[in-house]
């Protein structure tokens, strides 16, 4: 169980780097945006992992139950707003990609660079 | 045997039965040879498994707000999943996918 306790952090690291790898190695702009979404999700996972308290329950207080352990509400507040901000910024990224496609006729990064040089 | 024990036993049976059907649906969706048979496997067990699992949980919840919510979940799932299955099959049929068409997976060599 000691090892399993670190598994969340390892998955965080792996997901983060899968996202980074997609952004670095794929010239396709939509793929880059999806990679960024994975990167973002990994950060959410890290924060929510840190909120868990052993034997605890979600921080919505129950009437009449004394000395219950509650998980940490602060990371939840941060991530809750970040998810909605994430979708809004993803939409902005998609809008820019759509405009790039209208101007260049492609969403492949190296193709766009080639056209810029000409 | 008390009433509570009977309820527990019934709920056990329903949950295990529901889990079995859900699992059968999953195997069918993976192993069946073409799209329409896969959908057949997934769609029917989806309905039955959902119903059994939710009934099993309802037996445990007693009469409370949770029962109403579970009933609402059951009703909405029973409305939407057959509709989604219908819409999907209809779209596949209209687009010209014939039963037996997608039988073979693409050559693994060609996939990246």
């Amino acid at each position: 169980m000691q090892i399993l306790g670190y598994y969340n952090y390892w998955v965080f690291a792996v997901l983060l780097m899968i996202g980074l790898y997609a952004v670095m190695s794929r010239p396709n702009l939509i793929k880059k945006l999806l990679g960024m979404a994975i990167f973002q999700a990994a950060v959410f996972l890290l924060y929510i992992t840190m909120d868990k308290v052993e034997g605890g329950t979600a921080p919505i207080l129950r009437a009449g139950v004394a000395d219950e352990i509650y998980s940490n509400p602060v990371p939840q507040v941060l991530i809750l707003t970040a998810i909605v901000v994430g979708i809004a910024t993803l939409a902005l990224g998609l809008a820019i990609v759509v405009r790039i496609h209208e101007e260049y006729g492609t969403i492949e990064e190296d193709e766009i660079r080639r056209q810029d040089r000409e | 045997m008390t009433a509570a024990a009977v309820l527990d036993a019934a709920s056990w049976a329903l949950l295990v039965g529901g889990g079995f059907f859900v699992f059968v649906g999953g195997v069918g969706a993976l192993r069946m040879p073409d799209f329409y048979t896969r959908m057949h496997a997934a769609g029917i067990t989806d309905t039955l498994g959902t119903l059994l699992v939710l009934t099993g949980v309802i037996l445990q919840s007693g009469l409370s707000l949770a029962t109403v919510k579970l009933l609402a979940i059951a009703i909405f799932l029973l409305l939407t999943s057959p509709t989604a299955a219908y819409a999907l099959a209809n779209a596949a049929r209209l687009s010209g996918l014939k039963p037996g068409d997608a039988a073979a997976d693409p050559d693994p060599e060609q996939r990246e």
Partner: protein, 328 residues
């Protein structure tokens, strides 16, 4: 046992993420991203974050897939195979992963109540919320009241992103000005009878559920962010079924723009009202007869402002993309 379930879902997450990166078809990648979001929501729920899971559910299932698909409808859905060598990227990612995994051994054990993150401010919030604010949902109390200033900032980020999408996409395309014809694209799914009937039946329930989530936020998981995403999911469903024009007749663009501004103004207005009544900016305790009653009024209004702005922004973004698709 629950920990093992978490480990299982986390492994599925990694497999899905690899699938997203490796698939050469963007449509397939978007479908896998939908699966990724479902798994994230289940994982958040297992980790005791009910509010976060509800947000991920509302955003991921209702809006994200639709937005990605409407963007994809304007682009090519096939990724061109690249000849570029990937070894540098693989090496950098792998090395960083190993370094980060090495660093995690310094982290406090998973679920440790004595971890610094759980010792700093969280116990104070948990202890004082019943007395100072008196709502059961501590997440809502922190979001709307203790850290209201922070939430205001997040709201303005969303506001700015919505405005940015409008700046980028709202301008008409030059070359298609004369070629605009009434086309089948804008008709939605009108001729699919069964989905249309069932979908129309669901729309009021989705909006009703959104309102429940909005106004029940003090007692259960919910709040303006989730409610905004849910209500806009209801309207997106309506637009998919009846065509975008029918949806714009119900909620025209002007109304949506008004909602974006109104929600943000409501939030700021509550803060300024607190100042005028002798408190600090976003200090709600002066708004009611007693400080606790004032907090209740303030939280209700602030969450309402968040809900209105989020609904407005998400629907504006959806319509901006959908208008591009039907112009083609």
């Amino acid at each position: 046992m629950i920990t093992l379930f978490g480990v299982f879902i986390l492994s599925l997450l990694v497999i899905t993420a690899i699938g997203i990166v490796r698939s050469t078809n963007l449509f397939a990648a978007v479908m896998l991203a939908g699966l990724f979001s479902l798994q994230m929501a289940a994982m958040f729920f297992i980790l005791d974050a009910a509010d976060v899971a509800l947000t991920e559910a509302a955003v991921g299932a209702g809006v994200a897939t639709v937005l990605l698909l409407s963007a994809l409808a304007l682009l090519d859905d096939e990724e061109r195979r690249t000849r570029r060598s990937r070894w540098a990227a693989i090496a950098v990612s792998l090395a960083t992963t190993l370094l980060m995994i090495y660093a995690t051994f310094e982290k406090p054990r998973f679920g440790d109540p004595l971890a610094p993150a759980n010792q700093h401010v969280a116990p104070w919030y948990l202890e004082n919320t019943p007395e100072l604010i008196d709502v059961p949902n501590v997440v809502t109390a922190i979001l709307a009241s203790f850290r209201g200033y922070d939430t205001l900032g997040e709201l303005f980020v969303i506001f700015t992103a919505g405005t940015g999408v409008l700046f980028v996409l709202a301008q008409r395309r030059r070359d298609t000005r004369f070629a605009r014809l009434p086309n089948a694209d804008a008709q939605g799914l009108r001729h699919h009878l069964v989905p249309r009937v069932v979908g129309r039946l669901l729309v009021p329930f989705i909006v009703l559920f959104g309102l429940y989530v909005q106004f029940h936020a003090d007692f259960g998981p919910g709040g303006g962010f989730q409610a905004g995403a849910l209500v806009s999911a209801g309207f997106v469903l309506f637009a998919l079924l009846e065509g975008e024009r029918a949806a714009l007749r119900v909620l025209p663009r002007r109304v949506l723009a008004g909602m974006i501004v109104l929600g943000a103004l409501l939030f700021v207005g509550v803060g300024v009202a607190g100042m005028l009544l002798g408190g600090n900016f976003l200090d709600y305790s002066v708004l009611g007869a007693t400080p606790v009653a004032g907090q209740h009024v303030g939280i209700l209004l602030v969450e309402l402002g968040v809900g209105i702005t989020v609904t407005g922004v998400l629907l504006t973004i959806f319509h901006a993309f959908a208008a591009r698709v039907s112009e083609r």
